[in-house]
Amino acid sequence: MLSINQRMAWRNLWRNPRRTLLTVAAIAFACLLLVFMLSFQFGSYETMINTAVKVQTGHLHVEAKDYQDQQDMRLVIKDPAAVAKVMRATPGIEAFTARANAFALISSKERTYGALVVGIDPEAEAKVSTLQSIVRQGEYLKPGDAEGALVGRLLARNLGVKLGDELTVLGQGRDGSIAAMVLTVRGIYSSGIDEFDRSSIQMGLGSFQANFSMEGAVHQMVAVCQGLGEVAGAKSYIAAHLPPQKSPSLAVLDWMQLMPGLLQGIEMDLVSGIIFYLILIVVVTFSILNTFLMSILERTHEFGVLMAIGARPGRLSKLVFMESLAMTLLGVVAGMIMGALVTWYFQVNGLDLGVQDVMAQYGITGRMYPQLSWISLTAGPALVLVMTLLAALYPTRRIWRLKPVEAINYV
């Protein structure tokens, strides 16, 4: 049962329905915007991460400790099959593959460049990275192709090679011996990430291992998970089940450790987003403060009468505060419901940014999918609630300063 104060507050609200509705709408719209934009931002991060992960890095790596920092040829996984067994049993992992890397001189007829030679398992690689789909010219490596190589677009241009041309690779094997081979360009890939396209070639893992004296070892086991949410669980499962290997010991790294730059980029974007939201909230708060203040000034005469017949300023303040609270709650709840509905619609259907062709070229679908979460749903509206309630406190101060006789005569 509502108290007399609550009933009075509710009635007062609807004495001027247009103003109340406008205020509620302002709060609701701010909340809707915050819910949607925060969800959209989170969704775009997930897309960004998945794209970066798919081009090459994967969600998780198992590699020798320090390999990430030193890229030393000798820091290997001696028994990749044992790691593969663990990965196969890990919940949440979608696919995995083995890779071996060596820095080598790549030489065409005319020119020589230093580049990373990556040994890949063509079948498994296709499930882990977008490599197969970004081969623009020629074809992807066939399993068992010992002489074929895929070359990055910019490296191919720098070397001046076309499909079918020969490349001489001169590097150093795991045992320090000289590794030399002649490879034929089977395909040219373009990931859109210049660094990757300028500085790498891909060849069959078996042939890589033979030429670089790897003795069956690899440098990385790369896994992709079903979603970002599964990464942490999969990481700890693998860490707990890693096959023992001494000097070097093995380590599991997730995408945040593998691509610290990406995480920093996301953090920076999030901070600039938060600054924007704070400005939005401050603007909304001031407009609401204005409405509250107006409603008090307008009712000076009414408050004077109420005080003359015995209402204490404390009771009037309480009344006004309850009116503000009711308005804010209405707005916030409406905003959250609408925000959730709008976000959910786009989460299901995707948001077409109109750049499909450009992005599709790099293995990204042009649609963005917002990610509704408890954080994106509640963080913005909660802040709006707190700020508007603080704003509601200010007008009540006026009530304490009212003198009944003056107030009654106030026009």
Binding site: T112, G114, L170, Q172, G176, I178, A180, M181
Partner: protein, 253 residues
Amino acid sequence: MAGKKLAALGLALALLLGMAAGAAAQDAGALVQASFDYMRGKASISTCTMLIHRSDWQRSMTIKAWTLGQSDSIFYITAPPKDAGNGTLKKSDEMWMFNPKVNRVIKLPPSMMSQAWMGSDFSNNDLAKSDSLIKDYVHTLEKTDTVDGKKVYFIKSMPKPRAPVVWGMQKLKIREDHIFLQQDFYDEDLKLVKSLTMLDIKPLGGKLYPAKWRMQKADAKGEYTVVGYEALEFKDSLPESRFTLSSLRNPRF
């Protein structure tokens, strides 16, 4: 009047001192040049073993080398058998590598010159720019000392302005009989990067010569490369045709 005289005296003194400093620089420069000529000879044929040591492994290979003048050299790996026949030709600042398995010659791009040669602590630049010490640096004598009854010169070598150098400073120790004892390599921030020490000085190829050259990384005590001479012969000359790309392609050793 007195002031003028004093000024003239000051000028004369400054000139004199300047000349003395110039002469010292020239002396140090001449000493480095003489030592370089002594160490390198007019031409040479040598066989040496290169031991690459790392904390958890080591590996050695045998190299046969021919040098001519200050800047030309050609060398082949003769052992282990797996790597035998791999050759490197160096002419002035350029380097080529030959691999017999794929039967190709590759010219080293400038970007690769700072990389390690065959995984050792010697970079391609150490080999290719061996005469850079003579061409690109100004040498000053820092002090002299007597070690084992022989005078040793301590020389600081700073790069000439705009010289295309790898090292920001080098410090040399040269014995009075023109034998290099030590060469320290510093980066642009004048931080020690690595040191080359010559050891085991004995008669070799008809003169006193250090038989062991040890390159030590400054920041990793467990990482070094030792080159030991097994045979060394100095010559007055070698045919130019030895130092050509076609010669590189046809290993003879």
